[in-house]
Every structure is written in C-alpha cells, then in structure tokens.
Amino acid sequence: MPDTSLVEPYAGRDPDAELLARLRRGDEAAFLALVERYGPLMLRIALGHVRRPAVAEEVVQEAWLGVLDGLDRFEGRSTLKTWLLRILTNRAKTRGEREQRSVPFSSLAPAGEDGPAVDPDRFQDALGRYPGGWVAFPADWETVPEERLLARETLACVQGAIRMLPARQQDVIVLRDVEGWSAEEVCDALELSEGNQRVLLHRARSRVRAALERYLEEPA
C-alpha cells in the first residue's frame, strides 16, 4: 500500500460536483466559490512558471475564461479541479516559455533539472571501504526539537527551496505534498505519465530535503 501517512490523498467522487452543476446553470455564486477555492492555488502554480506576479495574474484570468469557454465541452471524465489545473498549467507553461525567450540573462533560470538526489561526494567511491556507502551518515532528525522544525525560519527555508525548483518539479510537489492531491490527479492535471510524475516528485523532494539539511545543520 502507498505510504499514506505522508500525505492523505483525496479519494472519492468529484468534491466539486455540486459546484459544477450549479456553474453549468449559470450560478454566479458557484463561480465565485470556485474562484475562491482554486484561485490561490492557480496563482501559485502560475508563479512557478512566469515569476512576475502581474503576468501570473493574467495567466490565471485567462485560465478562468478558458474554463468558462470549455465548460459545455467538459464531460466530467476527470474531476473539475484536475481539469482547472490542466487549463491553468498549459497556459502558464506557454506564457512561461514566451517570457523566457524575452529575458536576455535568465536570472529566472533554475539549476539543471537533472542530477542525483544526493551529491555523489556524500558516498564512498570504488576505492572506499564500502563503495556506494555513506561517507558520513545523514543525521537523525528525531533529535531536532519539533518547535525548530515548525519554526517560521524553517518553513521559510522549505518554501524558498520549493520556489527555486524548476517549474515542472514545483508543480508536482505543490500539488502532491502541499495540496495533498493523489498521484492520479496530478498525472491527470499535468498530463504526465505515472513514471514521469514520480521522477519529478523525487527530484523536487530530494532538493527540498537537501536545502532543509543545509539549513538545519548549519553551525549556530
């Protein structure tokens, strides 16, 4: 069984089925409720692709218009929220690519997407006593007081690390680990295979762990 103690995934029918029905009937309050429910998430995802808040807001606005345009064609084979995010991420990606082309020095450019989860220097090479084994064991974080783990600075470190991720890794870790979406929902929304989704999640989590490690273990 997947380890659901990590994050509880949503399981069940479309939680927005009622809102969707009301929306189709032209219920304005339903639309506003939907905007309130998913707007912040959509903005956050958009910001991972375009960086500039004003542009991200435009992307979100356009996405909502796209939702209304496509509403009659939406067959409900996916949930409403995965459909919303699919529209949003497609627009964010397109806009993001356009923005990148017009930025001469990409201060937006994140570090390479590829790379091992852990710096190879942390492991013994072929000449070591245990090739492929840890040079020094990772620390036991059980000894870190909970209040330090939950302190504002620690949370800021994690959020900062997430913001530094390449856009696609950010998309996956935000939807999976921040929002608690299931793997299936994320694959649906981001149009990824299960394998691709896992690779992106793996890279994202590995980087965030590394950032957290650097932060927690820096000498006082």
Binding site: M1, D140, V158, R205, E213
Partner: protein
C-alpha cells in the same frame, strides 16, 4: 543495494512503485544501514514540513496547536 542506489529509489518506495524484488533489497538494506534509515526519515520529515508549511504560513498560531496535537496523539497511542 548500495546507499547511493537506495537514495534514488526512496520516492518509488513511498509510492509503492518498486518491484517486489527491489522492495525486498531496499528493506534488507535499511535493516542494516542506520545512515539510510536516517535518510528515509529525513525525506518523511521533509514531506511533512512541506505539507505543514503552507497552512502554517497562513495561520502561524496553529504551529503551537499542531505540536500540542502531536504530543497528545503520541501519548494516546503509547
């Protein structure tokens, strides 16, 4: 399985996506390697904080309550 190989499989392990053979090798390695046990726990903690960070940013006062809740839950199951 070496430690260096294991760390690349951690997410697959959590997602229950390893083959039976790989999972066996993974768990066999964990049984004898404190370093990797710690690494796994670090990844779990990372996911936990990632999940909490968002909520706690909106409501910083919840951090203390969350800690109290976890203490309560721990003593309950003890």
């Amino acid at each position: 399985m070496t430690c260096q190989e294991l760390v690349e499989l951690v997410t697959d392990y959590f997602e229950d996506a390893l083959s039976a053979e790989d999972r066996e090798a993974f768990e066999a390695h964990l049984a004898i390697c404190e370093g990797c046990v710690n690494y796994l726990a670090q990844m779990r903690t990372t996911v936990r904080i990632t999940h909490d960070a968002e909520a706690l940013e909106r409501r910083p006062e919840v951090a203390g309550l969350l800690e109290a809740f976890r203490d309560w839950r721990r003593t309950r199951s003890a």
